[in-house]
């Protein structure tokens, strides 16, 4: 390898000053960058707005790329299905997956009906999706798990709206550009989703672990109440996420928590629905959760 090619400034006073000014500017840039990054703590919306504008600019590239990769992924899946056990296996698998999500939702609705009957007062906003769009890119080089959705404020998408797919909860919108929106996935470490166990309504909190899994912690202290294969759905507590959306299935148990796998795999996601933020009815009397 050749030695560094930067010429020494020699004895020219002007050249020395130029070089020195370069260092001063660079050090000032480092400090300015750090300060700018720290402002993200106080004004995350401002940062997100600027980044959304540029996500809008590059959306066509990402959409085209997603189409190609979708084709490639489909071809790959097709080939692997043939090698595994023929295409029938794959079709059945997909059907089973859909049916499982449906089953969870049906049981959730059943349970909700029961509770609503007990309340004797129906408070239910419309569950019409705001928009249906595709996830086109993600911030794979960053520690935060954002995905870019191909719908923006033009389609009525706004910050704070929950995003779900047919299989389960995906995340929530944190910034909306004109034609794209940034979605904070539930697997992000900064995202907390109030959930409950499907079987008995045991309340818990699901936090992303940053590696594609969720950590589930029960609200009550004591021994770990979870079992492997427990299904979790949103509880609707605290608003934003509507109740009854399937979230994850428990895979591994640890000392005080459970590690769950999200039902909506972001890597396989194609279409996602943006819904209106759920508003928890706070004027209702508390209801005992167990039937």
């Amino acid at each position: 390898m050749a030695p560094p090619q930067r010429a020494r400034p020699g004895f020219s006073r002007r050249a020395q000053y130029t070089l020195f000014a370069g260092y001063v500017v660079a050090v000032a840039g480092v400090i300015a960058g750090l300060l700018l990054a720290i402002t993200a703590r106080f004004d995350p919306a401002g940062h997100a707005a600027i980044q959304s504008a540029f996500a809008d600019l590059t959306a066509p590239v990402a959409i085209a790329g997603r189409n190609v990769s979708g084709g490639v992924a489909n071809a790959y899946q097709g080939v692997s299905a043939y090698i595994d056990a023929g295409s029938k296996n794959r079709a059945l698998d997909a059907e089973l997956r859909g049916a499982r999500a449906k089953l969870i939702e049906t049981r959730a609705i059943e349970r909700e009906n029961y509770r609503l009957r007990r309340l004797a007062r129906l408070v239910e906003g419309s569950r019409e999706p705001v928009a249906t769009a595709r996830l086109i890119a993600s911030t794979g080089a960053n520690v935060h798990r954002y995905a870019t959705l191909s719908a923006g404020s033009r389609d009525g998408v706004a910050s704070g709206q929950p995003v779900r797919s047919s299989e389960g909860l995906v995340g929530r919108v944190v910034a909306a550009g004109h034609i794209t929106a940034r979605v904070l996935l539930i697997i992000d470490s900064g995202n907390v989703v109030p959930v409950k166990r499907l079987s008995d309504g045991l309340p818990a909190l699901a936090t992303g672990r940053g590696d594609g899994a969720l950590v589930i912690r029960a609200l009550q202290a004591g021994s770990n109440p979870f079992k492997v294969n427990d299904l979790l759905m949103t509880s609707g507590a605290g608003g934003i996420y509507p109740p009854g959306v399937p979230v994850a299935v428990v895979r591994v148990l640890t000392n005080d928590a459970a590690i769950a796998k999200p039902l909506a795999d972001p890597a396989r996601l194609d279409l996602a629905m943006v819904e209106r933020p759920f508003q928890a009815p706070d004027d209702l009397p508390p209801v005992p959760d167990a039937p």
């Binding site: 660079a26 960058g33 750090l34 990054a37 993200a40 993600s138 798990r145 890597a267």
Partner: protein, 170 residues
């Protein structure tokens, strides 16, 4: 061949010579548009790799302050808080500058080791700054990405060298 006289100082390289490095570095930053919905941070920071490769290759083209605009462009797409790349890239270039003043000759392995160190530095910095906005994952989750970046370095270096050969015929 190195000529052993003190060369006269070149104030700034012509703009046309900067086009290829700048474009390739921005292209590296745009690699995050790859249509993969990543569930773990695994995509190497190609923009940073490219800027380090160019700096190691052509110190006369990349001044230390170049990290400010180029890092800002990277921030616009990377999803990190704005300013992360600005600070991280410029700091990396300043560290390289300091290394250059102590080491006269380097070989490929030294370059590789320097790059690995700088990438680790920038990933940890990005991790720390991302923690200001919200929760961050365990720091060991940075390891796969770092390893990926280090393994991608020769490829990025070869691309930068190939681009450089296109504009400076020997």
């Amino acid at each position: 061949m190195r000529i052993s006289v003190v060369r006269s100082y070149q104030p700034a390289p012509p703009a046309i010579k900067l086009a290829l490095p700048v474009l390739s570095i921005i292209l590296g930053s745009l690699m995050v548009l790859l249509p993969v919905i990543a569930t773990v941070p695994i995509v190497p920071p190609f923009g940073l790799l490219m800027v380090i490769a160019w700096r190691l290759l052509r110190a006369d083209l990349i001044a230390p302050w170049a990290g400010i605009p180029l890092g800002l462009v990277d921030d616009l797409f990377s999803g990190a808080p704005l300013g992360t790349g600005m600070a991280g890239w410029t700091a990396a270039l300043l560290i390289l500058e300091a290394i250059d003043q102590r080491v006269l000759f380097r070989d490929m392995w030294q370059d590789w080791a320097i790059t690995a160190g700088l990438i680790a530095f920038d990933l940890v910095l990005g991790w720390a700054l991302a923690g200001l906005v919200g929760g961050v994952p365990a720091p060991w989750l940075l390891l796969p990405q770092w390893l990926c970046a280090v393994l991608c370095y020769p490829l990025v270096m070869r691309s930068a060298a190939w681009l450089d050969r296109q504009q400076t015929p020997r």
